[in-house]
Symmetry: D2
Subunit: 341 residues, 4 copies
């Protein structure tokens, strides 16, 4: 008997990932309903059937109105996250919502208000907080081992750039990619950004702006003054040819906590030419595979045992403010822009 | 529609591990039948039912005689491996057999003869060959990158010792634990042991021999002269308090290939006291989790696409010869003992 | 018979370091004269005598006017570097000048003009370029192995802060400490900074400004737009409690080159509490010991074999422009400031 | 004024190394006399003169009989170590003797007896005990951090083999090369070898025995039962193409202490082909440069402050017993041979 019955809205790549994790790696849950507008055209109906999920629909309201559903996973396209979340919350469902909740601050606030009113659990899918490496860094900071944080450096680079057509609707690198890193800075420092300066270039694809039709960049560095005095730096590139580069360093008054990438393997070949060892895991599906599972276990625990969620709606709002400030700064020569508090 | 329908004999810890892996991580297979003498008392029937496997039995012949079963996984107690394997092979089934096939050389040879006669696939569960780290070392040697192997060092240490009662029926450290490392030496060198010297002590538990009733040791070092001239060393301890220590180093005429452990995470905390980082993964279920899956994918590929198995019955025989020689040497002051070829 | 006879001006800590290196580790040179205004009060006369150097004086002109002196090492107090360098160059001597040449751009330009006119060799003591680790990173970039540089991160942290009284006359962190890192960015990118933004705080010593009487900071992050499109970040702290932290990372279109610190030793202690390993070498005398020697070997080679110096007077000028821009930016909220070209 | 006036016998490579270290890196000593049978033919007279050492001779008795000499460094050819040491000790001089004291046990014992009788300090040049890495491992064991040692693995490989003509007079790999590693095992375990088994092959140079005229090997593995129950393994190769490979691992009841090589630099180049980093330092002059100095500082401290030497004559004797046993074992199929106590 499952402790939690789950309905999933959106059965694309990320929805399928969550369904497989929920079924294979998260104890005490059952996936009882799935909705996707392309449920038939995309083959998602068959994909679900092969997993014994037969309650499928093209209409997400079928999931939300399903009385047996305790919690809804919002895995639909980004522009529908807040609408579906709001509907689910208003129907009294607990919600796990993929990031971002929305890029529109007012829509996130509407979700936050509904969550408050309905008293349901609402968790945002900032999965990196659950990565074994980053979590160990954050835990070290929280424990006081490195004292007060003075400097934070987040290096976050994708292995290959998305197509310009994707960039065109992505909101730009600060919303689409760095949003995770804004969250990471908040996570490891336990503090909020006060002012943000951003600088960027199109070094991976010099024709990016022309091809995407938006004034975006593919290489960016952001500097932030945090409320606790700490200075944080994020660097992003859309293309690290050696694979997904995801590292965090927190330097403080008593020491430093930092992590490295997970590698394909630990073997070293040493010859007259020197030592050769492996690259990082290729991309987020490999690197954050276990983190995707861990975050859901936390969500389930929050709902079943009525605990506070570890990444709430406010954590969906703050990075959007930061992306706004960074975008504005980047388009204005790197001037420091205040972040709404 | 599954390409391969599998029956599993033995539904204890390792049988369950294989069933979960087959269902969750190996495409193209179906587990259609399970047998275990304790199927009811152990709760295995319910465990299987929860996974949709209802064709269960206390009699392994029900699996072997099942016409829909293409391949049998032998996951029963060690003393029954060869009998059940032989029955399955004689029934024309492909077999994946957990290690060891047997400690009795004649019984392994009987299985080998039957496999030969029936033309079925037979793979032994030396999972460590499929570990990402060890495989990278073996591949480097095979590729010629380090030239001819001259010295091999296998360090293999368990995190905690088994109870003396287990040791009593284990056949001793050379059969029970070092058997994997004998296979590893053959794997990474591509050569056979000619002579073996073993030395050991009861350093973890000085009362081991008294408590177990057998002249066993818990700390052992074995040296081997290989057919290709290479000298191989294996060191075993029943207790590495810091976790499962599994490392291989191959030194050759053109260089060295070696690996390290997988760690809990990559974080480092640096303070006035120095740098602190993590321990290895705790034990084989954590470290070789993916290797368990990989080996089965290879087995399935061998059967479905009629390829040679990568770890055959002969690979079950050789390490037993080596364990015999090591046991004899250890009980005779470390004298070199010839290994039957 | 020495190929090069050297006179040293300034016999404090850094002068003594150079004299010992010249005598013990640099072949083909002889130290024949030393001057220091405190030659008697400081005990420098005896210190020199113990090394067989008896031609000592309180007046640096005695060194400069010495006809047997081929090259002058300017190791005096910072405020006298340019004056003494100018005198030495005008006397036709080759000069090795400790950094900085001066903080006044016009004085550096005067030295540059004299060097040009006299045709002598003039090298600035940016020793870090000769560190085995940083040099390997720079060489990798130059070789094209990592393609075009996109992002540079220089982490440079001292183990302990200087007294406020020193800070008071230091010119501030950007002149006194980051000047080395400005040089490092130029060195590893082969490009010039176009615009610089700086942000800083007093996190190590909140009373720093009060105690030093200057608007300085002890924790600083600088971001630079380079002429080649690359974005560079430098982070400085006056106090890394775990030791001298000196690392460089260059990320480019074809990969990444980065280095780590040299550690006290390579030993690792692994217990149930995890792995413990060592800290970086304590400070610049330990870390850059060999680099101090290497730079002088290059200087000697330049003079003896009439080759171009590897770190010329222009390399003394550029970082001062950068420090100027950073100081201005830091005092104006982090606005980007153009760097004179 | 020097605390210790030193005479050096033997002015070849190792004698010169010691002289330069004594003059440049060891405070409180003076080198006042040098003897070498080839003092004129080899150019050693001039080499000394350039360092201000004019009291040179072809007869080592001139050093020993020099009343101003407090301590004698025996750096002559191996076959003269014990004779010259004995003469120096009998003359009441403190002695620092390069390893080995002798290969003849009786001659070492004669030196030991004289040292005892005369009450002088006598140190053997097992420099590796003073290496920063190995010392950290030994210190960790001594401190009890890893509990009782159970398994020791010493990997010791030279970058290139000596000529066969050298091997012909070397005494063989166990005396000439592994003698250092025998000392290392004693050093890190604090225990004595009881029985030794050795196995070896000519894998680097298959014609070694023919060319050298002695039954030597170039690849060897030795296993030892130690008095404290610990099992120790040493592996030697005359040729590690990637450089000097010097590593020690001590595994014990509470953990493991191990070290790695010192590398040329810490830089890593990461590309699509993986990560590339550096090789170990090339050979003993590079790797043990500082250890050569450290051991002499300890010797000087012993003499000047009348402390026990840290590596005494007994430490010169024990490894010879071990080399004897290993040689005998290797020539007898690897049988365990008892080590005289």
């Amino acid at each position: 008997m499952a402790n939690l019955r789950i309905g999933v809205v959106g059965c694309g790549r990320i929805g399928k990932l969550h369904i497989d994790n929920l079924m294979g790696a998260v104890p005490g849950v059952e996936v009882i309903a799935v909705a996707d507008p392309m449920i038939d055209k995309s083959g998602a109906r068959d994909w679900c059937a092969a997993r014994g999920i037969t309650n499928v629909s093209a209409d997400y309201m079928d999931v939300i109105n399903n009385k047996d559903v305790d919690a809804v996973f919002v895995c639909s396209s980004t522009d529908t996250h807040s609408v579906i979340s709001l509907a689910a919350v208003n129907a009294g469902k607990h919600v796990f919502c993929e990031k971002p909740v929305d890029y529109d601050v007012d829509k996130i606030k509407a979700v936050m208000a509904a969550v408050e009113e309905k008293g349901v659990k609402f968790q945002v899918g900032f999965n990196r907080r659950f990565d074994h490496n980053h979590k160990a860094v954050a835990d070290a900071v929280k424990s006081g081992k490195i004292g007060d944080p003075h400097i934070v450096i987040v290096s976050s680079r994708d292995p290959e750039p998305p197509p310009a057509s994707y960039v065109a609707v992505s909101g730009g690198i600060f919303y689409d990619m760095m949003i995770h890193d804004f969250d990471m800075v908040r996570y490891v420092t336990g503090s909020e950004a006060v002012e943000i300066s951003a600088v960027g270039s199109c070094l991976v694809n010099p024709k990016l702006q022309e091809e995407s039709g938006i004034p975006d960049v593919d290489t960016a560095v952001v500097t932030m003054k945090m409320a606790n005095g700490c200075i944080a730096v994020i660097n992003n590139s859309r293309q690290a040819v050696y694979g997904y580069d995801q590292r965090v360093e927190v330097f403080g008054s008593k020491g430093m906590a930092s992590d490295g990438n997970d590698l394909l393997n630990t073997a070293t070949i040493m010859t007259v030419d020197g030592a050769h060892s492996e690259k990082p895991l290729w991309f987020f599906l490999e690197r954050y595979n276990q983190a995707f599972i861990e975050q859901v276990k936390y969500f389930v625990d929050s709902v079943v045992n009525d605990k506070p969620v570890v990444v709430g709606a406010i954590d969906g709002l703050r990075p959007v403010y930061m992306a706004q400030a960074a975008t504005e700064s980047c388009r204005n020569g790197g001037v420091y822009v205040k972040v709404p508090q």
